[in-house]
């Protein structure tokens, strides 16, 4: 292989073939227009923009490894007796789904690796979606014009949970079977329809023979097709809106500063796909995941301690664990006219996730009511510059993490030698107190960081150099910020609470919509009453003159 620093001399024959092919295709497809539109499109650079890429690439790895797994998996709940390579399971009664999972693990060379790659990729897929969503939230990338894309991404997040859960349940092992039984119990708690939804889903009584074939279709066809379609919409909107950018010199809401798709991002993002694939392959090679042969085939009777669902379902499991059946002598299951209403299941597993997800979906509009802003926003916020939003985000994460910890309370209790009952009681309190404390602390921290920014802009960096004046006074020399450093700290907009029209006009008539406006005003005050304004040139001049004394 020879390498040269200068570009190789144009190969006239190759150029002719390439030109001819391009001409042939363009005559029939107008591909020139696409190339013109896409090839030199600019993308800003930042590590946090790669979180969404991780989600996309792990999805591609899921599709590739999933196709390989379908070549061996038998989605059937018919009974069979194991006779494959794994000696210690010989003769055990199991479903064909479980048998084929063992078969692809022990009899197919590389089959176990593909299972592990698929499972690791699924965990990384859901994790990267959640962190990507957090990045969008904290930087305000959901603001106009990206509200629709926030909803598309939100739906993708829900679909990733559905994809994960249906896939987790397919091998029909003891753990996943118990997971399904829990879902069945949750569904049955739904008033009026619960029993019928359960019956329809399982094709009769739990577990029946229909569920795995049905989940298989959902897992390999319906859900991936929806994800693929929505990913296309998601990316189309990214191209249409052009990517957001962090604040910095030369960047405004009216431009995009970055490097072209071809060749820079073709190489960087394309290369990153292979990096993600490589890391997932390494996880599959080194770290065992979901060893179903240790759990055994599903049997409704046994269960082991320390049973946890995959991480993305832990928060619901945690809520189920934290909810008391009785509280101070009051039951959380009611009998009304002979019908049973199970608040102890509905609250943690239906109402709470419902409220959590509804709030997330609607968040761009909630903030827009408070801000009263109608313009397009393409420059991202530094999280400190919107203290209330950042506080809400950290409160939501705290809430989520407490539920995840409660979902592993047996493991936590075991690890730290605590009483599991005390731990659950503690989490019951923390679920309410934790997010409030997190909000208050985060908001204060943001305001503090904004003050620190002002301080830096006004007085510069501490240089550590002490100078003695002729009059004997000692001072430390401060180095002023560069224009670029300063711009990042002063270029944010300090939003003031919205003003609303008075309730009565000058003729004393009460106007319509006043209550709604009043609500928005209250919200707006909560968001923006306490704020730190960026340094103005006036203030900087004053500070510098003061420094000259």
């Amino acid at each position: 292989m020879t390498t040269t620093v200068t570009p190789p001399p144009a190969n006239p024959r190759l150029a002719k073939v390439a030109g001819g092919t391009a001409n042939w295709v363009d005559d029939r497809t107008n591909i020139g227009g696409f190339v013109k539109f896409f090839s030199r499109k600019l993308f800003p650079d930042h590590w946090s923009f790669m979180l969404g890429e991780v989600a996309l690439y792990s999805f591609i790895v899921l599709l590739l490894s999933g196709v390989i797994l379908t070549a061996f998996f038998v989605p059937s709940m018919e009974e069979t007796h194991y006779e494959g390579a794994f000696a210690s399971m010989h003769g055990v009664a199991m479903t064909k789904a479980f048998e084929s999972t063992l078969y692809m693990s022990f009899d197919v060379p590389g089959g176990l690796l593909m299972r592990q790659i698929h499972h690791w990729a699924a965990l990384i897929f859901t994790a990267s979606i959640v962190t990507h969503m957090a990045r969008i939230f904290f930087t305000g990338a959901f603001r106009k014009p990206r509200e629709i894309n926030w909803l598309v991404g939100f739906t993708l997040m829900l679909l990733s949970l559905a994809a994960g859960f249906t896939g987790y349940s397919l091998p029909d092992d003891v753990l996943s079977g118990n997971g399904l039984r829990i879902i069945d119990g949750v569904i049955k708690s739904i008033p009026f329809f619960g029993s019928y939804i359960s019956y329809g889903l399982f094709g009769g009584e739990f577990p029946g023979v229909h569920l795995i074939p049905r989940m298989f279709t959902a897992h390999i066809l319906l859900i991936p097709a929806l994800i693929l379609g929505l990913v296309a919409v998601h990316l189309f909107l990214v191209f249409l809106h052009k990517h957001t950018q962090y604040p910095g010199g030369g960047r405004t809401d009216k431009n995009v500063v970055g490097l072209p798709l071809f060749p820079v991002y073709t190489a960087k993002a394309g290369g990153f796909f292979f990096v993600v694939f490589g890391v997932i392959a390494l996880l599959g090679a080194l770290f065992q995941i979901n060893p179903v042969w240790n759990y055994g085939p599903y049997d409704p009777s046994p269960v082991s301690a320390g049973t946890q669902p995959d991480w993305y379902m832990l928060f619901i499991d945690g809520a189920l664990r934290a909810q008391p059946g009785w509280l101070f002598g009051l039951p959380f299951e009611w009998e009304i006219g002979g019908y049973t209403l199970s608040w102890n299941i509905l609250i943690p597993a239906v109402i709470l996730p419902g409220l959590f997800f509804t709030f997330l979906a609607l968040y761009p509009w909630i903030e827009a009511w408070a801000t009263g802003d109608r313009g397009e926003r393409h420059v991202l916020d530094r999280p400190r510059n919107v203290p209330v939003r950042t506080g809400i985000g950290v409160a939501l994460i705290t809430f989520y993490v407490i539920l995840v910890l409660e979902g592993s309370n047996d493991i936590v209790a075991n690890l730290f030698h605590l009483s599991i009952n005390d731990l659950t009681l503690l989490f019951r309190v923390l679920i309410f107190v934790g997010p409030v404390v997190a909000f208050i602390v985060t908001r204060r921290l943001c305001l503090g960081l904004q003050r620190k920014d002002r301080e830096l802009v006004l007085h510069g960096h501490e240089s550590g150099r002490i100078v003695r004046h002729e009059n004997g006074e000692y001072i430390e020399v401060h180095t002023p910020l560069t224009e670029q450093e300063r711009w990042v700290r002063v270029s944010y907009e300090s939003i003031k609470p919205i003003e609303i029209e008075p309730e009565y006009n000058d003729r004393g008539v009460r106007r319509k919509g006043y209550k709604w406006d009043r609500f928005k005003q209250r919200l707006s005050r909560w968001y923006y009453e306490e704020r730190i304004d960026p340094v103005t040139p006036e203030e900087l001049r004053a500070a510098q003159e003061h420094g000259h004394h």
């Binding site: 620093v5 000696a87 949750v186 619960g194 010199g249 072209p260 009777s301």
Partner: protein, 341 residues
């Protein structure tokens, strides 16, 4: 204190805010200015791509050399080396491409203008005109609107029923949800060990011991019926010191000499309540930690469950085997809307 006098003025156009300083100066990388560094970067990229080729070879070789075997250990090497091969094959390409981009491709940022997404007023007006023209061409708006629109919307709303009614109707089989309320226990069914199905004699049950129980005859059922029935019928059998046992009113004859049997399916969301603690007579569900007191009617002492575990009334037959007196007198497992109907 010194003032950075670079470009002097701090005031913006209106004097109230700073002016955008524009793009930072581009700093050339070493490979941009030093041909040796560029050459070195190029060699590093080539090395990374070569690493990928070696990884591919490793993966193919590992496939032929390490065959899976009969134990977990035997497939460990197959899994490890094939996985490492794929890792290197992918990582080499990925790092090579990224290193190429970072060292040799353009890193001088460019600027592109954004355009407001909203279409112009003229375009909007033209679009509205076109839709109006289309509506006119369709004939809507000259007296036929109501019936035409009503019929097309009505037809489209009803059409899904042609699929939904029969095929959603099929999903639930016989839709007989009252099956949730009954198990295969009936008068005289012997309590048998799970999973082998051998019946249990009262004399086998010593104080403090615990048995996982299925109804005798369960194992003779076809597999899918077995799974359905087992999901409802599993029972936990415990013998307590009769002095510790608080007999529940109305259930005086449901136990036998300190032996009690309770449904093993949690009244919370249906996990098997499998962990019995002998000292406290507590029964713990490992899924969500509902805790039941076996000595006191399996009442809830902690956790998310609200109801006690249903008790299976038992007695002993002529041969000394423990048998059920009847089915459970209430539905087992998690609550559902029509549970008590």
């Amino acid at each position: 204190m010194t003032i950075d006098s670079h470009k002097g003025q701090e005031t913006g156009a209106n004097g109230e805010s700073f002016e955008n300083p524009g793009l930072p100066d581009h700093r050339p990388r070493r490979a941009d200015v030093d041909p040796k560094a560029a050459k070195r970067a190029e060699r590093q990229v080539v090395a990374l791509f070569t690493l990928s080729v070696l990884g591919t070879i490793l993966a193919v070789v590992a496939y032929f050399v390490f065959r899976p075997g009969e134990t977990v250990e035997s497939i460990r090497y197959a899994n490890l080396f094939l996985g490492l091969g794929i890792f290197l094959a992918m990582m080499g390409i990925g790092l090579g491409a990224i290193h190429w981009a970072k060292t040799l491709m353009r890193d001088h940022e460019m600027v592109e203008e954004r355009h407001e997404l909203r279409s112009s007023d003229e375009t909007r007006a033209a679009a509205v005109e076109m839709l109006k023209a289309g509506a006119k061409d369709s004939g809507v708006g000259i007296g036929r609107r109501g019936l035409l629109k009503g019929s097309v919307i009505g037809a489209m709303l009803l059409a899904p029923l042609a699929l939904l009614v029969p095929y959603v109707g099929n999903l639930g089989g016989d839709w007989n949800v009252s099956k949730f309320k009954h198990t295969m226990w009936k008068k005289g069914t012997r309590l048998a060990r799970d999973p082998d199905g051998t019946p249990i004699k009262a004399s086998d049950v010593t104080i403090g011991s615990v048995f996982h129980v299925i109804p005798e005859g369960l194992n003779d059922l076809p597999h899918h019926e077995l799974m359905v029935e087992k999901s409802k019928a599993v029972v936990l059998l415990v013998r307590l010191n009769p002095a510790d046992l608080k007999v529940q009113p109305g259930r005086e004859d449901w136990s036998f000499d300190g032996i009690v049997a309770y449904s093993k399916i949690c009244t919370h969301v249906g996990c098997p309540v499998a962990l019995y603690e002998q000292q406290t007579h507590h029964l713990l569900c490992p899924c969500h930690q509902s805790t039941f007191d076996v000595a006191d009617g399996a009442k809830v002492v902690f956790g998310p469950a609200k109801r006690p575990l249903p008790q299976l009334p038992i007695t002993v037959d002529d041969e000394g085997y423990i048998v059920a007196q009847d089915d459970f007198n209430e539905p087992i497992g998690p609550s559902f809307w029509e549970r008590l109907k």
